[in-house]
Amino acid sequence: MDKVRRVISVIVANEAQVLARVSGLFAGRGYNIDSLTVAPIPDTDLSHMTIVTQGNQRVIEQIVKQLHKLIPTFKVIEHEQMVEKEMVLIKFPIEGPIADIQALCQAYNGGIVNVGTEMFIAMAADESMRIAHFIEAAKRYQPLEIVRSGVVAMER
């Protein structure tokens, strides 16, 4: 069976150990985590995790079921029709062509977010695939550091 990429949202009780339970499940059963983000859901006792993983259909099905089996798991959403966004921060040396980079950022829903004496930081927020393109394009400007946020997703 072919490997597929899947974005899964897990709604969990916002309590101690819950991240360890989820990541431990992946580690212990040999599943991949490509990215994982987690933050509290406003005005609730819940947190929203977005996990990007890959595997064949049987593996994905097991991941969803095993996630659901965890006691603090409220809901597991295997995304089909979703809005998916990821953010990246890239640090450039101050000598870099800041105007060119700003133009590039704007094409990817971003901009220059910080300028210091030695460096400046650019940001972009877009789909994962486009973020990868953006990073590729940014590489010609000798980036000093690249930080990706991991994916957040919402079913539409």
């Binding site: 101690a16 150990q17 079921k65 089996k69 798991t73």
Partner: protein, 564 residues
């Protein structure tokens, strides 16, 4: 009323109706032990090792169907308990294990006897808790018992820092649990059940495939009734022995790696598997791509994650085996024609005649299978049989005439050597009126041999029948078949004097080398009412057959041949 955290632990145990706690004290759990000393409602059994405490609670749970409770201290007390937790986890046994932890202020400082108990136990518990304040202790204890026994049962660990058991607070034990994220489903989907019933009615060669879930959900009457009404033949997994009853003509036998020829052929040729609380374990299926190639599958399981995990399922039904089977009976009663499966039953009968489960008895040496059969003849359904892990376990599962569920207690999933003796102590605590026999080997019994002392102290006359072949027998068997007879580290010829060992700890011992001696010794052991080692010298090179070599197809078995 204000009380200490330690008192709360005891009050919760009492409120849950627990009569027996197995455990071992130590620094971080001393506050709780002080309260145990002051109360008189439940009994505490001091095992001589924490692993044995958890196995004993496990044996108690398996024998009675109630939640088993064990108590240990932090650090090494807890790590010793991990094998017990994992054993219970793999077989879905409801346990609550309470461990002491270093005080909150010391957590994370590598304090004396500190270990990350929730971190270590996470993969081998159904759920676990590190209690972080006295306020949450009553709720956590309530949830622990509820989670352990509900849904697919399992062990729950509650790790309690020492300062919390010492602190005073208000105790209100919750009457109900409020867990919005945990809602086990018991009732199967009626439409799915209806579809499954139609499939059964239209099948030609249906087969009931019964697993440990049928024991856990107390479904044996319903399962027997379903078989009776439909006259569909049944195979049992290692964990389900006793569900159908040995005398039941519809029971084909145990299937799997050491299953009977007819059972494995039934599974290989059936056109409809009706899986009742079984999970298609690799020891059952053999090579997956060759497994039950002609069959559609009805899979009834309370754990959705078991369904479709290893095999593709045509009729998934998430629910409790008992409730779903009762519903099936209702729907199928007037629709099914039992004669429809007559040809199928005849085929399986013929398979069984062709290669029955058998061994070649001998006049020179005692055959281990003979011992099992003989125990069956002498105590039969009166006894509870526990076992350790290895050849003796398989022979017991094959040859003992199990007549009811919860009569057969063994570590199936994890395969824990050293499980049988402490589990037998737990079973005996649960059923003092029953003869409890641990069928064990000369390898396994040494792995919790210290429990002789516990058994003698509490007058728990468990009989350990040691099928002694002076080998780590199952590993030796694999070495014979697959490693060109290189018996690497499996020769156990150097042994203790079993009789003296038992006697030294306050028990009784018998060395048996003939069949006559065996009958006499077993009778003396039962009458003697002492913990017993019944050391039986058996044929050193006897193999467990049939055998499906690991990774092989279920229908390719090494068989015992009639002529020899």
């Amino acid at each position: 009323m204000k009380m200490s955290g330690a008192q709360m632990v005891c009050e919760a145990i009492i409120a849950e109706g627990v009569k027996t706690v197995f455990g071992y004290p130590g620094g971080a759990i001393m506050n709780v032990y002080d309260e145990i000393y002051k109360q008189n409602t439940f009994r505490h059994i001091l095992t001589r090792h924490e692993q044995a405490a958890v196995h004993a609670a496990d044996g108690y749970a398996r024998a009675t169907g109630e939640v088993g409770v064990a108590m240990v201290t932090s650090g090494p007390g807890f790590t010793n308990a991990v094998t017990g937790l994992a054993t219970a986890y793999m077989d879905s046994i409801p346990l609550v294990v309470i461990s002491g932890q270093v005080p909150l202020s010391l957590i994370g400082t590598d304090g004396f006897q500190e270990i990350d108990a929730v971190g270590i136990s996470r993969p081998c518990t159904k759920h676990n808790y590190l209690v972080r304040s006295l306020e949450e202790l009553p709720r956590i204890l309530k949830e622990a018992f509820y989670i352990a026994r509900s849904g697919r049962p399992g062990p729950v660990l509650v790790d309690i820092p020492k300062d919390i058991t010492g602190e005073l607070g208000e105790f209100i034990y919750p009457e109900t649990v409020d867990l919005p994220t945990y809602k086990p489903r018991y009732k199967g989907n009626d439409r799915q059940i209806k579809k499954a019933v139609d499939a059964i009615v239209n099948a030609k060669k249906p087969l009931l495939y019964i697993g440990g879930g049928a024991v856990l959900s107390n479904a044996y009457e319903a399962v027997r009734e379903l078989a009776e009404i439909t006259q569909i033949p049944a195979v049992e997994t290692l964990m389900a022995r006793g569900i159908m009853g040995a005398k039941n003509p519809l029971l084909i036998g145990m299937l799997g790696m050491h299953g009977s020829y007819a059972s494995n052929m039934a599974m290989s040729e059936t056109d409809l598997i009706i899986s009742l609380g079984a999970r298609f374990d690799d020891r059952v299926t053999g090579k997956l791509s060759e497994f039950a190639r002609y069959a559609d599958i009805i899979h009834i399981d309370i754990d959705p994650a078991n369904i479709g995990k290893l095999v593709d399922v045509d009729y998934p039904i998430v629910g409790d085996v008992k409730i779903v089977v009762e519903k099936m009976i209702e729907m199928i009663r007037d629709k099914v024609d039992p004669d429809r499966y007559q040809v199928w039953r005849d085929i399986l009968k013929r398979y069984d005649e062709l290669h029955p489960l058998m061994y070649h008895d001998s006049e020179e040496t005692i055959k281990p299978q003979w011992v099992i059969e003989r125990i069956g003849e002498l105590v039969g359904e009166e006894a509870i049989i526990t076992s350790d892990v290895g050849q003796h376990q398989m022979w017991a599962a094959q040859f003992y005439p199990f007549d009811r569920p919860r009569q057969w207690i063994n570590s199936g999933g994890l395969g824990t050597m050293g499980f049988g003796f402490p589990a037998a102590l737990g079973a005996k605590m649960g059923h003092p009126e029953k003869v409890v026999i641990n069928i064990t080997g000369d390898g396994s019994i040494l792995m919790n041999v210290q429990e002789l002392v516990t058994a003698a102290e509490y007058n728990l006359p468990v009989i350990n029948v040691i099928l002694n072949n002076h080998f780590l027998g199952m590993v030796r068997q694999w070495q014979t078949f697959f490693y060109d007879k290189r018996y690497s580290e499996t020769d156990l010829s150097f042994q203790p004097d079993w009789k003296l060992l038992a006697e030294a700890c306050g028990g009784a011992g018998y060395d048996v080398t003939t069949k006559e001696e065996f009958d006499q010794a077993l009778k003396s052991a039962i009458d003697g009412k002492k913990v017993t080692f019944l050391n039986v010298a058996v044929d050193r090179f006897e193999n467990v057959l049939p055998m499906v070599p690991a990774g092989g197809a279920l229908y390719n078995m090494l068989l015992e041949h009639k002529e020899k």
